[in-house]
């Protein structure tokens, strides 16, 4: 909640934009609320750029949940035990649910889900580049749970304190489920690592392929991150990309040891002086290529997403036509009154 003072001054009048004198007062109330770690709520005044940044970030977060269903759903029909199959189905279902929370959060900023999906389908908004990598073996499902969800959690836990209320609250719910998924992924890899030699090799291969892309999930290095400074000032972000990446590496190293797996980085070692692990250079060329659309699965992911949407159009149209006929309140249907959906529309 914003402060009472901020609420008194910072409501945008319904009849139009405030004049410049008001704007300065609104901006001041907004800055004060953010500085005091208060939450900005949908009806509070906010700078246009703050609104635009949040729409971009929340939408891309929602898109990532939706596209992120694909690499894992790829293994639902091949899961090697019924228990694992149930866990995986539940996880993919959770991701669809997370997408729905996040689209709702984005909608509080004055946009619509259809509009956002349209931007995803036309490539005008992005999703996390990690989902452009393929799931080639069953162990990839575990590596995604452990590393990708682990990186996501490291990124997202601070977002539970983000200055925008609806986003922060969505993140609280999402992080709870994500940590559950992450433990399940770790446990899946552990079963493989302690299984047959072939299973162990499958686990190691998956970790080798997912480690570096997971480190790239924290975004470009701080000196190349265009939105970071402003987002930190607005308390949308709380830590820099490189800080979070370092935190993630420090968490993963002991976990990899207890998994009995190695991380594919010859330069990875403890640095006593820094109290952190040093690690090797990230291939930023690969990162930018994937971001530009040239990753291994960019085309496949967006094509499947568009196809599901296009092939589902007749279903959504049917639901809308049915609703138009049957929501007239009297219990009388359009058929009974002789009207058609087209006439009502």
């Amino acid at each position: 909640m914003a402060t009472a003072a901020a609420q008194r001054t910072a409501r945008t009048p319904a009849d139009g934009a405030p004049d410049s004198v008001d704007t300065a007062a609104y901006q001041h109330a907004f800055d004060t609320a953010v500085a005091a770690d208060e939450r900005i709520e949908p009806r509070d005044w906010m700078p246009d750029a703050y609104r635009a940044t949040l729409v971009r970030q929340i939408a891309q977060h929602a898109h990532s949940e939706i596209i992120g269903m694909q690499p894992e759903a790829n293994w639902i029909t091949r899961a090697p035990s019924l228990r694992r199959k149930a866990i995986l189905m539940a996880k993919v279902q959770d991701e669809a649910g997370h997408g729905l929370y996040l689209y709702s959060a984005a909608e509080t900023l004055g946009t619509g889900r259809d509009e956002l999906l349209d931007k995803l389908h036309s490539g005008r908004q992005k999703y996390s580049s990690i989902f452009n990598y393929p799931t080639l073996t069953w162990a990839d499902v575990g590596a995604i749970g452990w590393l990708v969800d682990g990186a996501a959690i490291t990124n997202q836990v601070p977002l539970c304190r983000c200055s925008y209320g609806p986003y922060a609250r969505a993140m609280v719910r999402i992080c709870k489920e994500e940590s559950f998924h992450q433990r399940q992924g770790y446990e899946l890899l552990l079963a493989l690592s302690k299984g047959t030699p072939a299973q162990h090799a499958m686990a190691q291969d998956a970790v080798n392929r997912w480690w570096w892309p997971s480190l790239m999930m924290f975004g470009p290095p701080d000196d190349a991150s265009q939105h970071s400074a402003q987002s930190m000032e607005w308390k949308i972000k709380r830590h820099s990309n490189d800080e979070l990446r370092q935190r993630f590496v420090d968490i993963c190293v002991p976990q990899a040891e207890s998994l009995g797996l190695t991380l594919p980085d010859p330069d990875l070692r403890w640095n006593e002086e820094r109290g952190h692990h040093d690690f090797g250079p990230i291939d930023w060329t690969e990162f930018w290529e994937v971001l530009k659309g040239n990753g291994p699965c960019n085309e496949q992911r967006i094509t499947q997403r568009r196809r599901a949407h296009d092939e589902g159009a007749w279903v959504r149209e049917a639901a809308a036509a049915y609703a138009a006929k049957h929501t007239r309140g009297t219990g009388e249907t359009a058929h009974e009154t002789g009207e058609t959906g087209a006439e009502q529309a």
Binding site: R78, S81, V92, A96, G97, A191, V315
Partner: protein, 243 residues
Amino acid sequence: MTATGPATVPVTAALALGDDALVLSHRLGEWAGHAPVLEEEVALANIALDLLGQARILLSMAGDEDELAYLREERAFRNLQLVEQPNGDFAHTIARQLYFSTYQQLLYAELAAGDGPFAPLAAKAVKEVAYHRDHAEQWTRRLGDGTETSHERMRHACAALWKFTGEMFQPIEGLETDWTGLDQRWQESVADVLSRATLPLPEGPRTGAWSAGAGRQGLHTEPFGRMLAEMQHLHRSHPGASW
């Protein structure tokens, strides 16, 4: 002796009901990432999970769930041919759901009311199945009474799957049920839903020369073998491994 007490579990019945749930769950799992609207990603996965949960309990009553799911061949599966039918378009999936969930709810309500070995499972499952049936009925009405296109697709789907519906009422060894009465109530319920959805009741035989009781005897349709190949290949590639 089994966990359910002195009464021996009728293995044939546990496999028939378990295989229905397992196979339909698998088909619904194929929708993940392909549904027409995000809410249906959630709903179809939810139904698939309920069915998988039922399958695991039922198969465990008959033996080891993973051995039964992953190491039997096509001729040893006892599921209905209806549940193994490919998803087709959304209307086909909904028609399959309507036919099966209506059957499952009527059957499980009877099993839950009895005192046989399936009563505890049925008592829990019948609540889930009531939701599945509601979901299928609502979509049957939306599609049937939606647009011309959706009406035509739904009509076609109901007609195409009609020939698999008679098999549901072939008696299952180990289940004491009035199968004829069950069939009658099923037909009444489906006729009512279809009429409210402005759809005609399909005509034509509900079983063929080949299909009477076929799935229950391990005689399946062609798409089923391919489905099993995908489902079982990883498990079979690592004999004896745990996951």
